[in-house]
Symmetry: D2
């Protein structure tokens, strides 16, 4: 085993272990439930991420590998048309078997196969697929937490995923945001890798971050911090959810049909808003970034505030500039609050966005909606083979989010990373960073 493949094997093991750590606080019952079609059961996430390695690495590469169960290909294929049929997504929650014990065995079986594969001679193509599988599993770690939060929120007892073990965060004063100016001009965005799913000297990226390309920006400004719950309380107080002139037409229809009056997971009304978190329900903290808002809400808030959402190019060029200027953001998030329980803190930064004081970096605790529709970059080519279905086929009717969030696995978020969701989605950890023309 070379040093490179040894490192890859260690990375593989670390990420695989982290998935199990995230599932550990959950009972078999918790891991079985699907609370809406967008949500997948925890045990499905655990099995699907194993299926990915089995299907794209072990089956094609390892002649001696025995498929764990012939039905799992159908059950745990998410959407890869080229490798076979898929059990219908909205029905994942009605499949009780395999249970969590058998899925754990499945994962161990795949891990054994992968250990053998990684102990041998690993070609560049294989290494890239392993890295893709690892990144894929990290994406599902975030989804696992997003999804179980929605599941638990449907329970009128509002149970916690995990208690917060850290000490209480010091109170943070809610300060007004300022504008950070950018001159615009000809810039470049996209990952610096040169081909396919990048994985060379420039590090990993997804195919949708390529190719790096030039674009032109007018001068603009970004807010010095994300919109906070305190800001959002003002929006609510000013009739934000009752004034159609603030909303996109389709957003206003969503407000009315969904009876929206606050971000998802806010409970109560008026002075007494609580918020359901992965650690249970507690009072809304005005200093926290607002979270679990849809694109429609983000856009309406921006209009109310006399601002707008940034484009993804604006966001990226500003984030790069920030990273160069301030490699270690100092004051953004207050430490000590919302630290997950034992073991989890090695996997994700926090279970809930932490209060902000003063300027907060663009890479932060909430994903930030951009006004950019999720489209191919100029010259985009999907990866070859079935993994080419990974990103490209979702490039319609979705909007790009940037910046990572508190439940994005540590080390997974990167500046050029393009997350995307439909404009109506509220269960991601998504918030708002305002922009303005100059």
């Amino acid at each position: 085993m070379t040093g490179a493949s040894g490192a890859l094997a260690a990375r593989y093991r670390a990420v695989r272990t982290a998935t199990e750590a995230l599932a550990a606080p959950l009972s078999a019952e918790d891991q079985t439930v699907q609370s809406m079609p967008d949500v997948s059961p925890t045990k499905w996430h655990r099995a699907h991420t194993a299926w990915f390695f089995e299907t794209f690495l072990l089956e094609p590469s390892c002649s001696g590998y025995q498929v764990f169960h012939p039905a799992f290909g159908h059950l745990f294929n998410s959407y890869y048309e080229l490798v076979g049929s898929q059990y219908p997504r909205p029905r994942r929650g009605v499949v009780s078997r395999p249970g969590i014990a058998e899925i754990a065995a499945y994962r161990r079986h795949v891990d054994a196969g992968m250990a053998e594969l990684l102990a041998g001679c690993v070609g560049a193509g294989q290494a890239a697929l392993v890295e893709l599988g690892v990144q894929h599993e990290q994406q599902h770690q975030e989804l696992l937490l997003m999804d179980i939060k929605h599941v638990l929120s449907c329970n009128p007892m509002r149970p916690a995923y995990a208690p917060v073990s850290g000490t209480s965060a010091p109170a943070v004063e809610h300060a007004a945001a300022t504008w950070l100016e950018h001159p615009g001009g000809m810039i470049e965005i996209g990952h610096r890798a040169t081909a396919g799913i990048g994985n060379g000297a420039e590090g990993f990226c997804f195919d949708n971050e390529l190719p790096r390309h030039a674009t032109f920006l007018a001068p603009f400004a970004l807010a010095s911090r994300p919109v906070t719950c305190g800001d959002w309380l003002e929006f609510i107080g000013d009739g934000g959810y009752r004034r159609p002139e603030l909303w996109l037409s389709e957003g206003w229809a969503a407000v009315r049909s969904g009876d929206w009056g606050s971000p998802l997971y806010w409970i109560g009304a008026g002075a007494g808003w609580d918020v359901f978190t992965l650690a249970g329900a507690r009072a809304v903290d005005p200093a926290e970034p607002v979270c679990h808002v849809s694109y429609f809400e983000a856009d309406a808030f921006a209009r109310w505030a006399g601002a707008r959402l940034p484009t993804e190019a604006e966001w990226e060029v500003a984030a790069v500039a920030e990273a160069i200027a301030e490699p270690v953001p100092a004051v953004s998030a207050v430490p000590g609050a919302n630290v997950p329980g034992a073991g989890l803190d090695a996997v994700v930064p926090a279970l809930h966005p932490r209060p902000v004081a003063g300027r907060a970096p663009l890479m932060g605790d909430v994903w930030q909606w951009t006004q950019s529709a999720y489209s191919p970059y100029p010259g985009y080519r999907p990866a070859e083979g079935a993994v080419g279905e990974y990103n490209g086929k979702f490039m319609v009717n979705q909007y790009v989010l940037r910046g990572g969030c508190c439940v994005t696995p540590i080390g997974h978020a990167r500046i050029p990373y393009r997350n995307f969701f439909p404009a109506s989605a509220r269960w991601p950890f998504a918030g708002v960073r305002l922009a303005a023309d100059r």
Copy 2:
């Protein structure tokens, strides 16, 4: 403790234990799933039956009783408007907690309270409620099996609830049915109890079986056995599911929208029909009573056969006559087949309808659709109080089934018993007994 209340306590314990025996083969994951709005999770059935005793006996009667959990009243109330709100039925499958361990503890807590209650002086009203609770729990035992069958059927691996432990049944020759003639005339139907939910010398009955009343019947005949799978294969072969003239208009719409071409749980087509059972999938046996057909299918089959469905009065008077003439039906169901696994055989007769040879009694292995809409008997009065919601409020757009089935708990089925389901329901163990005018 008097002999009567001692017997009641023993009966209570036996039925409560039986519920746990039925749940025993199921994992926590199995017990969590709700595969359609009509289906409830196993763990919900277990909790709801405990809630019934807690709500209608322990809370009103026992001053020292501590409610197990304040949220369970909302979570496990099925439909009793007068005792509080209900968690929405179609969302029962998204509530992962309490899990099965906590529900087992809930059941033990209620059992302890009930043991204390039953050890004391039990009034007639209380005894009637206990008996109602026991009967109610037996109904949920049947529902539990019906529901988990549907859950498991959604899994493409077609897992078994429990293996069949008995030896294989001897092959039974498929014989033509004959007609059993009845003269009609003035008859009486309904339970002989005199008031409320009967529970005196005449034994238990539900309020919907009362009052016993006179009615007039023209001469008629009933078939000597239920319609079998062999009969149904002929119906399919003759285009039964493709000929609109055989169907009620609403039934034909159901055929088309549901793409029906066989009874529920039949798999495949043509010569090779398999059937999914609680013991897994296996070939259709022509000698078995057909099962899992809707009222629409039963009615269409009868029209195709030149016959009709019986009324519930016809069915009941014939069953009473049969019981008098032949107290012990001898040849109806072939023993030795489909005996449930260890422990289950003390709870229900079988996990699947058994083949029939020759004449088969009306009380049998499949519920039999009648043409009678589920309506109040003349002079019907619901029971007093919240338990008055038990039956009366469902008396619309449902049809009566008679006769019990293989998964009706032993001792629960009775001749005057009025089961009921919507005309489109296919997941009950429902079959067909033909009738004809004379």
Copy 3:
């Protein structure tokens, strides 16, 4: 032409002319609209009734008859599977052509063919079909008025179908109902005709009224008048639409999903209820029979009143007794009110139920929901051929109404007549007559 066929021809012409009189107040636009799937456009009713004569008489009987248009068989077949395909019912309102002029021409074409047919030798079978077609057209006359009322009610301008031409009715005092007692016992119901669709000495009947048969009734009482709007205001004032214990479970679901708080077509609330009528909107008159209530509402009202709905057998035997005792009901409906505009008064009794004072006959201004599910009478056989689809295939999930209503064409309603609608239907002119056990 014999006297009999001459009379039949005259009757044919009179009924056909009446249809056109009912359509006359309506514009081409009015006649095109379908406001919900249950409703058909006026011009569809006009065409479909012509299609009936073309399909069941002219095509089979008249060798020289030229079909008016080859596509009309598909467009204007309602539900007769045996004579061909049907354009989907919920889409009738998107077919703009043929327009009303072409449909008028179609009707004249059919009338010419029928005139020729009726001028010749008309066999008994043909005569029966002509009579069926005439009765069928009368049914559609009532449907036409029911349907256009619904169409116009969707228009926020609340336009009138026709102004009321008569003088205003004298105010009627709202008097309490009394009970009319009946001894029950062995009785007979059903039409006296002996076979098929009756049409001999006993007069016409539909196949669903046959065979006349014996049944047994316990003693009962019927209210001396229908439930009035004044009664209904008390029910509303007592929280009738907000108390689940008064409702069937499915009815309560309808109340909540449909946000019901009054009969259909009532506008406003509290002291100021208006009602939309075919003559436009005006104040609710407490002395009028309540109208446009569903079975669910009728049942809930009866429970609230400590009474119940009658069975159809109870209703029929009482109506027969009443007709013998009081051939000409004297005081039931107040004349002079709601007389339709010129021409219409020869077709239907009134466009809206008229106030009642004192005892009101069972044959009256509102259809009366019975608690009887629409089922075949013992020994029922559908008519031969495609017209056998007329009634039998709807015998599921519907409830029987009796008595005719103000927009039932004059001469069409008869005591044994079995009307039927789903329990949720509110657009028929349906009200309530209470019954009680004795």
Copy 4:
């Protein structure tokens, strides 16, 4: 009256008259139907365009103006929240009154008011609103034709809107497309007007075409002609509608749920495809531009062809270049075919896309889907007041189309014009122009 306002008055009259000419072939019944929620009845289009002038000009500007009917503000407001409530769009087809005669009177009433207004002193703001109203009415002329085509297509008799009066077009040979190269670089797009809804020296534009702004393009190529029906037949023949790898994920779901196998309005299959046009059904002409395809289909076709859709900036810069180089496109569309009936040819170029031979200009007979999501241009500001709702609030989940089509009123289409529809829409006259990276 100044020359300018005289010209405006003449323009107003011409466009208003054109609307009536488009409605003239349609009966009252035709004008009443709404075949799906996206479609509006012809008579609604006629009334709504009058409402626009009444609401935004006559009511605010003319003190003596009498509103024609107080209910019309509610009935004919499409989506302007700031000027009042709106009758629900999907229910426009159930409002039979006002009928076409009253709507014609409404239009005359508004025309009289406008004549008076235009005869007086017309300020710049008013003139801009008049021009906006005129452009708005032209948009509805196109919608009127799109919508009535859908309405008539639902009729199994496939009636024609208007017969084609011209002589038959000469057959055109189906020639392969070539690529037209463009170097990319820093370019500008957007209308040259300087503010608001442009209407000065630069001519009219909508607010969404502003501001003109710089952007950067990589080198690219556009096809020399739109994709033809002949091309599309190859796509179908190659399994285009059955191969998921060609489709966006959401597009594939649309293919399956909608059972798509050809463009909308194609009838039949295989060698024998017909197409429904505004002149009735006839054989598909391979030389015609394909029309009535969704964004999903356009995107899938491009992927199948190894190409992509253009961005709107690519399209616009190429169209400007083309217009400069070849002011009068010579060979694009074959004249003489599909000329509308008398009167219509003065309003729209044709009722169906005409065959193309050789190179065809970008401004042509079908709208061309771009890959650009409909987003605000950098620095976009909606117009002031209620007309600010005209465009901006639809900037989500829609895609931009460029180029105009055969039923766009003559003089209405312009190069910077941004049309937009959801990706699933098929009833616009939308086709495909391929693009490629260079």
